[in-house]
Amino acid sequence: MRWVNAALLCWIFAIPCSKAAAQTPVGGEISWTYIRTELERDALGFVAEVLPKLNQASYFANDNFAGYLGPSVEVRTGGDDAFDSFVARLHGFVLLPRPLDEEGEPNNFGWVHVIPFSLGLETDRSFRTPIMLAEAGWTPIGPRGKIDENHPERSQRFGLAPDRAFGLFFQAGYKFDFRDSSGVASDDLTDAGGLTNSSEEEPDHGIARVKGVIVYGISLADRVSILPRATGWYDIVNSEVYYRLEARIRVNIVLGKSALDFGYEKGSGVPNFNEGDQFSTGLTMAF
């Protein structure tokens, strides 16, 4: 399945480059990182979140609900035993009914409860552990208060600020049993550093998880931000708990466009739930 990864990466790079002069049909974020992996190897890491903008996205609304539906692809990979994952999904959100304001319109200035949902595929770069997964969750967005004219950056709503957010999700799906060319089952790989599969989720079985995510960071004068992020999964089928802790120090070169990142990760997250450590230094560019 290596050719799948190669083709995917070519596609990701080709589209923004070939269309750069015209209206770009994709947007997202690409990061290149230097990584110190679990097996103390040096590796080059790559993360891309690609949001196609080919007008597949669609909004829906009635008197009570409003929402969005569209596709997205996220790739995380690297050399040697670097953590890796591939997530492709159809995703969207629903804004739950809000009280009406004095003009009889939905009041979006108070708490807004967003129900994100998705249906997609998550696997590693060798497609050994493909999981078809459906997810629904709850992400609250705090009220919009009066903006502080002297420090407007402190007035961003909870849930929209990059350093203050929370989400709770339920995930259910099916884990397929794909064997690689040597006939080795996905769960037979051990001592592979960051590629080790530590998941108790059995191939050819259904899976069900509860997932929680919390971010709470601090920013220093728009230039430097410290972003701790914790993600936890409770495996309902096997009564196991998995986690992924990330701490990132971001130094903005051009605000919102490019930044230097210094990161630490404990745990790989989906789909392998590897518990190892990974350090990285990298450059992130928005496109």
């Binding site: 007008n55 609304a61 003009e103 200035f109 994100p116 004219e149």
Partner: protein, 118 residues
């Protein structure tokens, strides 16, 4: 008469967009004039009808002032668009459900309202 009706609908869509911009904008990206206008709307949604507020917010770069995202990566531009479409629906105005510019870089309330009014 159809032109007059479209003009009325455009004026209403622009008012709704100003109000939703105040709800979903990223304060860090606002100019001092835009902060004053947004704070007026936060104090009372009716301020979205005021001419001085309209002049300032109609010219704002939506891609810039709506930057940001939820923890699942949903952009505030999409929250804004969904809110505008729903509010217009309640007002009996039909907006396009697909083909909204993404991102809204360079779009203003004036250009966007022309683009999305069905």
């Amino acid at each position: 008469m159809p032109n007059a009706n479209r003009e009325r609908q455009l004026t209403e869509v622009q008012r709704i967009m100003r109000k939703q911009l105040a709800a979903w904008c990223n304060p860090a990206e606002l100019t001092p004039e835009e902060i004053t206008a947004v704070n007026e709307i936060i104090a009372s949604g009716a301020a979205a009808r005021f001419e001085d507020v309209a002049v300032v917010l109609n010219a704002a770069d939506l891609g810039n002032v709506l930057s940001g995202q939820t923890i699942t990566g949903e952009s505030t531009e999409r929250l804004f668009a969904a809110s505008v479409i729903q509010t217009c629906h309640r007002r009996g105005i039909t907006l396009r459900r697909t083909g909204w510019p993404e991102p809204l870089d360079g779009e203003t309330i004036l250009t966007l309202s022309e683009l999305v009014l069905a």
